[in-house]
C-alpha cells in the first residue's frame, strides 16, 4: 500500500451529442474550464495537461494555448491511445505530481467521435499498416469485430450467452434514465435487445457503445492543495496500466499474440492495482467498468476479481447485481453504452461525482471506494478512487 499523493478536485463536461457543432479544441476548452470552475481554480493554477487520442483531437499544446498556460511542466499526448488509456492518463498525472514535474494537472479527452472522425470505422480510411496488413485484407477492420472474437471465445469456454450480454445493455440503460447527460435514457428490455440488428455476431446494435461528440476533464492536484479546493477531493488511491502477459501481443489489434482470448488485461493489472490501494475487490462500493461493448464488462468483472473465471455471465443476470441498490452497482451513469463514448474518461468523471455524493436519484449510498477500468482486450488501465 502506498501513500496518496494526489486527488481529483474538479470535474467538467460539455454536452454529449451526435453532433457538437464545434471543434475538438473548443470542446476541450469548455470541459477544462468547467472542471476548473468545479474545483474553484483558474488556469493560473494549472501546470500540466494530459490527454490521449487516436489522431482525432487537438494536442495538449492546443489546450495550453487556449487556456493561456505559462510554461506548463507536463504536456502529454498519449497518442495512438484508445480507451485502454482512459485510467492510465490519471495515473500519469498522479505520477507527474509525485515526481514534482507538475502540481495541478488537467486530464481530458475531447472528440467529435460521431460527426467527425469515427474510431476505426466508416468514414475514415481503412488501415493496412503495421500488424493490420495481415488482418485488414481479410475484412477484419473495426473494434466491434475485434472484440467479438473475445466475446465468442468467452461464450465457448464458459457458456456465456447472448442473454448475459443483453442483460448488461438493459441494466446499463436503466441507470441512464436518471442521468441527464445520457444520450439514451428510454428503458429497453431483453426483447428490444434481441430485436436490435446483428452487427458482427455475437454483437447486436445494443451491445455497442454510442459514438459521440463531446469532452470531459478532471483536475488532479497534489494532496496538500487538494484539501483547500471548493469540493472534497477524491483520492487517487491506485493506478495501474499493463497487458495480459499471455503472449507477445500488445497492439490492440494484435489478437494473434494473445494466448487466451477469454482473459483480458484485468488479470495482469489487478494485483498491483489492489495492492497499491491496500484493498480487495470485496471492499468496492461501486465500479465503472469500460463498456465499449457489453462483453468487455464480462471479461473485466472476471479479470478484476469481482467474480471468478466464467462467473460473470450468470452474475450480471442475477436478480440483485449490477443495478443501483445492489451490493456493487456498475456503470451508474449508463456507461458508454447509454451515456456516450467519451472514450472512457467519462467513467472516471462519473466515479468522482459518485464519491462526492452528487448523483441525485442515481447516487450510490455511502459511496466511498470505486474501481474504474479502461480497456477491453490485451492492454488496459485502471484506478482505485476513494474518499480521503
Amino acid at each position: 500500500m502506498r501513500s496518496v499523493a494526489s486527488g481529483v478536485v474538479g470535474v467538467g463536461y460539455t454536452d454529449i451529442s451526435p453532433n457538437s457543432g464545434r471543434s475538438t479544441l473548443q470542446l476541450a476548452t469548455e470541459a477544462a474550464q468547467a472542471a476548473l470552475a468545479d474545483a474553484g481554480m483558474t488556469a493560473a493554477d494549472v501546470d500540466g495537461l494530459v490527454t490521449y487520442h487516436l489522431d482525432d483531437s487537438d494536442p495538449a499544446l492546443g489546450l495550453a494555448q487556449s487556456l493561456g498556460l505559462d510554461d506548463p511542466g507536463v504536456m502529454v499526448d498519449w497518442s495512438d491511445g484508445g480507451g485502454n488509456l482512459a485510467c492510465g492518463v490519471v495515473g500519469l498525472a498522479d505520477a507527474a505530481i509525485r515526481a514534482g514535474m507538475a502540481h495541478t494537472v488537467i486530464v481530458y479527452r475531447s472528440l467529435n467521435g460521431r460527426s467527425g472522425r469515427r474510431l476505426g470505422g466508416m468514414g475514415q480510411g481503412v488501415d493496412t499498416t503495421g500488424v493490420r496488413q495481415f488482418m485488414t485484407p481479410a475484412g477484419w477492420t473495426t473494434y466491434p469485430e475485434m472484440i467479438a472474437m473475445w466475446a465468442r471465445r468467452h461464450m465457448e469456454v464458459y457458456g456465456t450467452t447472448p442473454e448475459h450480454l443483453g442483460t448488461i445493455a438493459v441494466k446499463s440503460r436503466a441507470h441512464a434514465k436518471d442521468n441527464p447527460r445520457a444520450q439514451k435514457r428510454e428503458p429497453i428490455t431483453l426483447d428490444d435487445y434481441f430485436a436490435s440488428p446483428l452487427i458482427c455476431d455475437p454483437f447486436r446494435l445494443y451491445d455497442i457503445c454510442l459514438e459521440s461528440d463531446g469532452a470531459c476533464a478532471v483536475v488532479v492536484t497534489a494532496m496538500d492543495r487538494a484539501r483547500d479546493t471548493a469540493k472534497p477531493p477524491v483520492g487517487v488511491l491506485a493506478a495501474a496500466h499493463g497487458g495480459t502477459g499471455s503472449g507477445p501481443g500488445a497492439d490492440l489489434a494484435d489478437v494473434l499474440g494473445m494466448g487466451d482470448l477469454a482473459r483480458n488485461f484485468g488479470y495482469a493489472v489487478r494485483d498491483r492495482l489492489y495492492g497499491m490501494a491496500g484493498v480487495t475487490a470485496a471492499d468496492l462500493d461501486f465500479a465503472e467498468i469500460y463498456d465499449c461493448f457489453t462483453a468487455s464488462v464480462i471479461l473485466q468483472l472476471e479479470g478484476f476479481g469481482i467474480v471468478g473465471p466464467g462467473e460473470a455471465g450468470p452474475y450480471v443476470a442475477g436478480d440483485d447485481t449490477f443495478s443501483l441498490g445492489s451490493k456493487l452497482p456498475i456503470n451508474t451513469h449508463g456507461g458508454l453504452l447509454s451515456e456516450g463514448y467519451l472514450h472512457g474518461l467519462n467513467h472516471v468523471t462519473e466515479a468522482v461525482l459518485q464519491l462526492r455524493g452528487e448523483c441525485g436519484p442515481r447516487q450510490v449510498p455511502d459511496a466511498e471506494l470505486a474501481l474504474v477500468t479502461a480497456g477491453a482486450m490485451a492492454t488496459g488501465s485502471a484506478l482505485v478512487l476513494g474518499r480521503v
Partner: protein
C-alpha cells in the same frame, strides 16, 4: 458496388508473406535459436530477440479458435461481401492466423471446426489466404 479492396504496401517481411501466398504457401516463421513458432512474420523472435528466423510453409490445416460473422461492413470496401465470417485458426503447426472463411453458411460455423487453407487472388499482384471447412 463496393470500393476496391484495401491492399497493404508490401515492403519487408509482409512482402515475403504475401508473395508466398501468391505461390500457394501459407508461411509462418521458426526461430532457429529457440524453436519459437511465430505468426505474423517479423524481423526478430518474439521469445529470444534472435534475428535468425526462417520461413516455413504450413500444411494449411487447423481448427477455428474463434470467429465473428459481419452483417454490417466495417468499411465500404467490404460492403458487397456481407454477411461474411472472419476466423482465427489454430494451425496444426502451433501458430494462430486470421483470415476469412468461405464455402460455409454463417449459421454452421463452430469453434473447433476443422478448416483448410485456400488462396484467392484479390488482384494480379496480391493474393490472400482464406479458409474453408475441411474436405473430410
Amino acid at each position: 458496388m463496393a470500393a476496391t479492396k484495401p491492399i497493404p504496401t508490401l515492403r519487408g517481411e509482409e512482402k515475403v508473406y504475401f508473395e508466398e501466398a501468391k505461390n500457394g504457401r501459407l508461411v509462418y516463421q521458426l526461430c532457429r535459436d529457440c524453436a519459437q513458432r511465430i505468426f505474423y512474420p517479423r524481423t526478430v523472435c518474439t521469445n529470444c530477440m534472435s534475428e535468425n528466423l526462417e520461413y516455413v510453409a504450413s500444411a494449411g490445416k487447423g481448427t477455428i479458435y474463434s470467429f465473428t460473422t459481419l452483417h454490417v461492413p466495417g468499411h465500404p470496401e467490404f460492403a458487397d461481401d456481407v454477411p461474411y465470417t472472419v476466423v482465427l485458426v489454430d494451425l496444426e503447426e502451433g501458430v494462430r492466423v486470421l483470415a476469412d472463411l468461405v464455402d460455409c453458411d454463417p449459421d454452421d460455423v463452430k469453434v473447433g471446426m476443422s478448416v483448410e487453407v485456400l488462396f484467392e487472388a484479390v488482384t494480379e499482384d496480391f493474393t490472400v489466404p482464406r479458409f474453408r471447412p475441411s474436405a473430410q
